[in-house]
């Protein structure tokens, strides 16, 4: 089942073209990782899909309907977006922040708190739930915001038809929490949720993504499985970096070693 389909999408919200001719189908349960140099348009692509600005050309369908046709609230029940930066500076408790993710739903206070509990557990923030958000470290805040978007889409059985957009969710996380996040993403993808995420660590992208999409200056330059996409030539052309690409000892993915 195709959850998201971008066909020839371009966008120029401020005059300059940010994204040019993007073609991207995402199926239920699929995890697609976006990689590319700084300023390649990765965040812009996520924001376009989240509806922050509209496309200037091409079609953008979510769940078989043009994105613009979705009623606001129904959209929020099916699509969640974690931006890179959080502006929150009011002293909510962690649990209150996560419960904000339940705003578009009318599932009742008890169900919402159960779901918040699951989401807090999935991001290892259960122990922080009675702390004030403003008193947390950067990495802790990022995990709490992750829990909030998990809670927005959470369903313990079937999450197909839903899409989670994550913009650099691992930027402030330590190694253990990066691995835990990879597990949590695999968990919701296993229940049918499609995930589109931006990551800078290509090895992490290869580990969590079933497919990679490479962007450069707003254009899509490569797309495919990690093994197809991650080649020494790509890194030379795109990042102007010399790397060694080998088979990962786990046998499932390539391993990129910077030289």
């Amino acid at each position: 089942m195709t959850v998201l389909a971008l066909d020839g999408v371009s966008a120029a919200p401020w005059g300059e073209p940010l994204l040019v001719d993007i073609r991207l189908p995402v199926s239920a349960g699929e995890v697609v990782a976006l990689i590319g140099p700084n300023g390649a348009g990765k965040s812009s692509l996520l924001r376009l899909i989240a509806g922050d600005f509209s496309a200037s050309a091409g079609t953008l369908e979510f769940g078989g309907r043009p994105l613009a046709d979705w009623p606001r609230r129904q959209m929020a029940q099916h699509l969640a977006f974690l931006p890179q930066l959080s502006l929150l500076n009011f002293p909510y408790t962690v649990e209150e922040v996560v419960l904000l993710g339940r705003t578009p739903h009318a599932t009742g206070a008890r169900a919402d708190r159960d779901i918040a509990h699951h989401a807090l557990g999935a991001t290892d923030t259960l122990g922080l739930r009675n702390r004030l958000y403003t008193q947390l470290s950067g990495g802790e805040r990022q995990r709490v915001q992750l829990a909030r978007v998990f809670a927005q889409l959470w369903d313990s059985d079937d999450m197909s038809g839903k899409l989670l957009l994550l913009d650099e969710p691992t930027a402030a996380l330590d190694l253990a929490h990066q691995q835990q996040l990879a597990g949590a993403i695999a968990g919701i993808a296993g229940r049918g949720c499609a995930v589109l995420l931006v990551v800078h660590d290509v090895n992490l992208a290869a580990a969590v993504g079933s497919r990679l999409l490479v962007l450069d200056r707003g254009r899509q330059v490569a797309s495919g499985t990690p093994a197809e996409v991650l080649t020494a030539a790509l890194f030379r052309d795109l990042f102007h970096a010399e790397v060694l690409v080998q088979q990962h000892p786990n046998g499932r993915q390539p391993l990129v070693i910077g030289l």
Binding site: Q77, F81, L88, P91, G101, N130, Q135
Partner: protein, 346 residues
């Protein structure tokens, strides 16, 4: 500090109950106090006596009741408007005057005082000065909103800056008027700016209740939207909130509410800024509790301040804005000193 959500909501409900009990006591005290001092029971009897022709009934029903209720309604409106603005601007230091309404109203009032409107009586017990203040306030907000709006929507940050610009402009024009006017009108303007409830009468109370009541009923409908707006505007949009409609509605209600309050009782600083701030330190930023609790606390503060303004130098009345600041500031500073305890950022 560790606070569970359950404790926080419990505390919020406790505060609401306490304030709901405190407000009638403050109102009763306000009815009993003044140049002619009555006991609380005597005031209650005079209030319920009907028109029996006694002096106490006359003082309580015709003089003090409109005034005390006007203070309560306007205090509630100012404080709830302040809470909504702080949420919308994601800034605990925001205040209803930020969107230009107070400065615009002051200019409107000054203009009419200078042009001699203070001598003319307008409609329904309102002087032309009040009308000028209301129109000036609403016009200033419209201008600020217009400046901050583009085809991409309304920028809250630009609105803040436009508010500062319009406030400065209105202030400059107001100063120019004061510079050229005569001494008597200068004093009128400066007294008007200090705020006061001495003009209270039944028509004014009716108007205040109508407008203030509408604002007090309308703003809480945006409590959930305000809760998500604290995360950021695009985050609120991604949570299914119609952000542009919410912004327009909040600005509109606050402009009408604060415009009316400036028109009827002058500029009463501090209530809209500090009451919601103090309430938030106490119960957290959840607007479902913050808005009603701020309204009750603002009403109580203004009733108490007005009572004190009539009693301290009786029979002379002090401008109520002085009293609100004198009561509120020490309380506020003591909370600031413990800000880490409440999780406020430094």
């Amino acid at each position: 500090m560790i606070t569970s959500i359950t404790q926080r909501r419990h505390r919020a409900r406790q505060l609401l109950v306490a304030l709901a009990a405190l407000l009638p006591l403050a109102v009763l005290t306000g009815l009993a106090s003044g140049a002619v001092s009555l006991g609380p029971l005597q005031a209650l009897r005079a209030l319920l006596a009907g028109d029996d022709g006694s002096q106490a009934a006359m003082i309580v029903q015709q003089l003090r009741l409109p005034r005390v209720l006007l203070a309560a309604v306007m205090g509630a409106t100012l404080a709830m408007s302040g809470a909504a603005m702080q949420g919308l601007f994601r800034n605990p230091l925001a205040d209803p005057s930020l969107i230009g309404v107070t400065a615009g109203a002051s200019l409107g009032a000054s203009l009419l005082i200078v042009l001699g409107g203070g001598l003319l009586q307008g409609l329904v017990g309102l002087t032309l000065v009040s009308l000028g203040a209301f129109v000036g306030g609403v016009l200033a907000v419209l201008l600020v909103y217009r400046l901050a709006s583009s085809e991409n929507g309304t920028s809250v940050a630009t609105m803040l800056l436009a508010g500062i610009a319009i406030t400065a402009l209105a202030g400059a024009v107001g100063s120019l008027l004061e510079f050229f006017t005569d001494n008597e009108r200068l004093r009128q303007i400066s007294l008007w700016k200090m705020g006061g409830l001495d003009g209270a009468n039944l028509p004014r109370l009716a108007l205040a209740s109508l407008v203030g009541g509408s604002v007090l009923l309308a703003l809480p409908r945006y409590a959930l939207a305000l809760n998500t707006l604290l995360l950021g505007e695009s985050e609120a949009r991604h949570l299914g909130i119609d952000v542009n409609h919410t912004k327009l509605a909040l600005i509109g209600w606050v402009a009408v509410g604060v415009g009316t309050s400036v028109a009827l009782v002058g500029t009463i600083a501090f209530v809209g800024l500090v009451v919601p701030h103090v309430v938030r330190l106490w119960i957290g930023p959840d607007h479902r509790y913050l808005l009603p609790a701020s309204a009750l606390a603002g009403a109580t503060l203004l009733v108490v301040a007005d009572t004190l303004s009539r009693v301290i130098l009786a029979p002379t009345e002090l401008p109520v804005g002085i009293i609100t600041a004198l009561i509120g500031v020490p309380f506020f500073i003591s909370l600031l000193r413990q800000r880490h305890h409440y999780g406020m950022q430094t």
